[in-house]
């Protein structure tokens, strides 16, 4: 297992998984809230079409977690963490 850093905490993943797959494997299905209704959102379409799963990766916002392969040492920041 490799590890990325999500909101400052390590998250184990299997090499080859996307960031979304790693989060879902860890039991998380939401990591963002909508800007108007503050509704929780995570992965929906899983193939890069719906943009529900957006995260910040290595400082770059607006990344689709379902498309970006997880990499050792990658830092992922979710909107949930910045709201707190």
């Amino acid at each position: 297992m490799s590890e990325l850093i999500i909101d400052g905490k390590p998250l184990a993943f299997v090499e080859g998984q996307t960031v979304a797959a790693a989060l879902v494997a860890a039991g998380r299905v939401s990591w963002r809230t909508t800007r108007l209704g503050h509704r929780p959102r995570g992965v929906f379409c899983g193939i890069g079409v719906c943009f529900d799963c957006l995260v910040t990766i290595d400082g770059v916002g607006g990344q689709r977690a379902c498309l970006v392969p997880a990499r050792e040492g990658m830092t992922v920041t979710t909107e949930e963490s910045t709201d707190e």
């Binding site: 299997v14 090499e15 080859g16 998984q17 996307t18 979304a20 797959a21 790693a22 879902v24 494997a25 299905v29 939401s30 909508t34 108007l36 209704g37 509704r39 929780p40 959102r41 995570g42 992965v43 929906f44 379409c45 899983g46 193939i47 890069g48 079409v49 719906c50 943009f51 529900d52 957006l54 990766i57 290595d58 400082g59 770059v60 607006g62 990344q63 379902c66 498309l67 970006v68 392969p69």
Partner: protein, 471 residues
């Protein structure tokens, strides 16, 4: 590949792979680009090459022999330098230039880093496939509710099941492999709600009877579902989902003939994940922007108009697979071959298939299209699906526009999804209406098929990548 390409193919799914193999066999130099980390598209979605031993997915697939044969041929051509295979490449625009085409892409191999890539060739084949078509229902935006394609993508490329007790709903045969795949990974599939009635097939039995391969495939899934004791409930639908931070239950109901819930049949089922899908919507972004003529498809989608050789109405532009009519992977492979034969003929190259084999491919395409048509007629979107919505139900997930707001827009005279968008912002967010477009179109009571909006930028990219173009 140092010499210029003869053909660019966008999309390395079944259609793009088959087209590339035929074009390469005919001696053309091909650039094949795909946004994924492996070839195969959504149907033959795989983990990246280096991860296949730790994420086993072979048993989740259908028609793998063809996939392996195509993959091996592509890989051989790639080693020889005749094929330029570019994974992780997201095409965001395709335009005509002089006598050919320019495809703009960003290479995201080191995402989030983006490198702008510009590809040129005299001919372009767009095989961008499709994604799940969605219908909103109360609670469909709760975490844990996914598209059935999303559930399968997580399984096929990441080896991950999104829940342990899952309800599936919608319409169409795609529900079955997803249910079987989840069950194979130890997930309890508590119900499969199929809105259509099997009797619908009896109205068009011919194409089904003439497709023994489809029978066998269906029977295989039926057996798998029986073995795992997965109940398939015809003429039912998931009409709502409940929960807070995550979905905890769904409500299912029997449907009347128009698709409205039969009063008194509602049942609540506890779940921790849900999968929904109502057929597919073709991914037409590049093609619509290039100006291809579209035509109506019986499944309610607008699709690209093609001649019998998969030529679009734009000279030098071809398409194959779901973009010219949703019909599944077997049809996509055949259309890919036909499209590549047209490219060869139009480039003055010798054909790969002789006349007899070409005729056989054409007749197989006709049979598959007849089957796809029968399938679409047997699995329609229920006319009264919008009776499941309350005024508060979110329809546009991105801009959080509710059904009530869209209904008011309709009352004010909006009669298609474009007008609704202008009045309500539905379809104006991150996904640009890809998720809610067909539903908004239905809610606006439009009688025409759904034509997606023109999206000049097919996938978002950074200003940095745009600025790199000038370098």
């Amino acid at each position: 590949m140092s010499e210029p390409a003869d053909l660019i193919i966008v999309g390395a799914g079944p259609a793009g792979m088959a087209a590339a193999v035929t074009a390469l066999a005919g001696g053309l130099r091909v650039v094949l680009i795909d946004s994924g980390t492996a070839i195969g598209g959504q149907f033959w979605r795989h983990p990246p090459e280096h991860a296949r031993s730790v994420i086993p997915t072979e048993d989740l697939h259908h028609g793998l022999r063809e996939y392996h044969a195509l993959s091996e041929t592509l890989s051989a051509h790639s080693h020889r330098g005749q094929l330029d295979l570019r994974l992780h490449h997201h095409a965001w625009s395709a335009v005509r230039e002089d006598d050919g085409f320019v495809v703009h892409a960003v290479d995201r191999q080191r995402a989030p880093q983006e490198i702008a890539v510009v590809l040129r060739a005299p001919r372009l084949l767009v095989a961008t496939g499709a994604y799940d078509r969605q219908l909103p229902f109360p609670g469909w935006d709760l975490p844990g509710v996914l598209t059935i394609g999303g559930l399968q993508a997580l399984l096929k490329s990441g080896g991950v099941a999104a829940g342990s007790r899952v309800a599936l709903g919608g319409t169409g045969p795609f529900l079955l492999p997803v249910a079987a795949g989840l069950a194979a990974r130890g997930v309890e599939v508590v119900t499969v709600c199929e809105a259509a009635h099997p009797r619908a097939w009896l109205r068009h039995p011919g194409p089904l009877l003439r497709s023994p391969g489809k029978w066998a495939e269906g029977a295989g899934y039926a057996l798998a579902l029986m073995r795992h004791r997965i109940p398939v409930r015809p003429r039912t639908a998931i009409i709502s989902a409940e929960g807070g931070a995550r979905v905890t239950s769904v409500q299912i109901a029997s449907l009347t003939s128009d698709g409205s819930p039969r009063p008194g049949t509602e049942r609540r089922i506890e779940v921790d994940a849900v999968g929904v899908g109502w057929g597919f919507a073709p991914q037409l972004d590049l093609l619509v922007t290039l100006g291809c003529a579209l035509t109506d498809s019986v499944d309610g989608n607008a699709v690209v108009a093609v001649d019998k050789g998969q030529r679009t109405t734009i000279f030098g532009l071809y398409t194959a697979g779901e973009t010219s009519g949703v019909g599944g992977a077997a049809l996509a492979v055949l259309e890919g071959r036909l499209a590549a034969e047209s490219v060869l003929a139009d480039s003055g190259a010798a054909p790969v298939l002789d006349k007899k084999r070409l005729a056989a491919v054409r007749s197989a395409v006709a049979a598959q299209r007849a089957f796809a048509r029968a399938l679409a007629l047997a699995h329609p979107i229920p006319p009264a699906w919008s009776s499941w919505l309350t005024d508060e139900t979110v329809v546009c997930r991105c801009e959080e526009v509710s059904a009530g707001v869209i209904r008011s827009a309709r009352a004010e005279g909006a009669c298609d999804h474009r007008q609704v968008k202008q009045l309500t912002r539905a379809g104006m967010g991150w996904c640009q209406g890809r998720m809610c477009g067909p539903a908004v179109h239905c809610l606006a009571a439009s009688k025409q098929v759904y034509e997606p909006a023109e999206r000049l930028v097919a996938t978002p990219l950074t200003l940095g990548a745009l600025a790199d173009l000038d370098k």
